[in-house]
């Protein structure tokens, strides 16, 4: 195991070095090649956030009362009611786990995105004290995380589809939908249907993962660029104070705006999961 690979990049210094440093994961190599390198920071933060979420909601569930709810319970209930209503409106299959899954998806993506709200240098600087050279705290700004989640959704869609239609109809629809036909036309249209289906199957996880990753990565990058206003600044220099003010204003605006982005991205991820599941459950 080697912590903090690619140390040679730090030597370049300046803006490029700063940004590159921040975009480098804490990586361990478990074998040869890129595939076997594990982004330890993404894994740790995702796990930590998941545990935090589970403890939080388990507490809410444990303390739940059928009487007048406390503030926390009321907040959880509002969220659950909202998502459950959305699932009822959108998903017409008979799977009971879609709503809990949607809530979990939303909360996890939101909490992971929320790490972006913390000062972009805070945790990496803290990590440096403990000898951790690289640290990226936003798990959703790592394409491995988002692709992993999207693959989970992909498997879920297959499960929902097979559960609602049976294996035979599920695979038959690969050749008979969206273009229905009879006789010779059915045979002729089968490859086209299959091609469309394959594209669809590929596009869904791709769009889910790339959208989330792109938004979070770009957001993080902008935080890094804003941080560059006062990079390597000397307190004795007048420009530091001007640029410092500029950094504060820009950072303030972008952080405030980012509240919307992280919520919206989590919401979109959840909504699309529900919509895809609903489509998978439908017979064509």
């Amino acid at each position: 195991m080697r912590f903090g690979m690619m140390a040679e990049e730090n030597t370049s210094g300046g803006m490029t070095g700063y940004i590159k440093h921040h975009l480098t994961h804490l990586t361990v190599n478990q074998g040869h090649g890129v595939f076997w390198s594990i982004h330890l920071d993404s894994v740790i933060f995702k796990l930590g956030i998941s545990v935090f979420f589970v403890i939080l909601f388990a507490m809410a569930a444990r303390r739940a009362t059928s009487g007048v709810p406390g503030k926390f319970q009321a907040a959880v209930e509002l969220l659950v009611e909202f998502v459950d209503g959305m699932v009822k409106d959108t998903f017409h299959g008979n799977s009971k786990f879609i709503a809990p899954l949607a809530i979990t998806t939303f909360c996890l993506v939101f909490l992971e995105n929320f790490m972006d709200m913390l000062p972009v240098d805070a945790l990496p600087a803290a990590g440096k004290i403990f000898g951790v050279e690289h640290l990226r705290v936003v798990a959703t700004a790592d394409i491995n995380t988002t692709v992993g989640m999207a693959l989970g959704v992909f498997l879920l869609l297959w499960y929902v589809g097979i559960k609602h239609k049976g294996v035979v109809l599920f695979f038959k629809e690969w050749f008979t939908a969206p273009f229905h036909a009879h006789g010779i036309w059915a045979v002729l249209l089968a490859p086209i249907n299959l091609l469309l289906r394959l594209i669809e199957e590929g596009v869904r996880p791709l769009s889910l993962s790339l959208r989330l990753f792109g938004n979070m990565y770009a957001g993080e990058l902008i935080f890094l660029l804003i941080a560059c206003f006062t990079l390597d600044a000397a307190l004795s220099h007048v420009s530091t104070y001007v640029l410092g003010g500029a950094q504060f204003i820009a950072g303030f605006i972008w952080t405030a705006f980012h509240i919307l982005i992280i919520t919206l991205q989590a919401f979109i991820f959840m909504t699309l999961t529900i919509v895809y599941a609903s489509m998978a459950a439908e017979r064509h």
């Binding site: 009487g67 907040a75 509002l78 000062p119 972009v120 941080a227 990079l231 307190l235 952080t255």
Partner: protein, 159 residues
Amino acid sequence: MDIAVTLVIQGLVFFGVAWLVMKFMWPHIIAAIEARQKKIAEGLAAASKSEKDLDEAQARSKEIIREARDRAAQIVDQASKRSNEIVDEAKGTAAGEAQRLVAQAHDEVARETTRAREGLAKEVGKLAVEGASRLLQREIDPKTHAELLDRLAAEVARG
């Protein structure tokens, strides 16, 4: 790489946004939560109140039914008492009437007896006078012997 100033400003930004959220977003979230709490509290209060009302209404209906039953029993009692009274009264009246009739009949009988006796006595007197006149072959003036005849009749009547 010195990022001290950068990090301080980032911290300021973080607390600035936290203030923004606290000032402008948090009140809305808390308001929604409190509205929900209030709605649930009101619903529960209404439910328990209606339950209490139902209990009260049931207790009152039981009370009313009990009262009505008591009243009915009372009325039945009264009615049977009254009917007994009426029967008793009727019995009394009938007995009195019967006694009165019997007494009247007795009087009547006594009067008739007296009258019959008086009539008989007069007749006896007349017969006696007639018999005597036949014996004496002469008329006896009933007027002159009225006193005698009357005494005779009284004697017969008494006997």
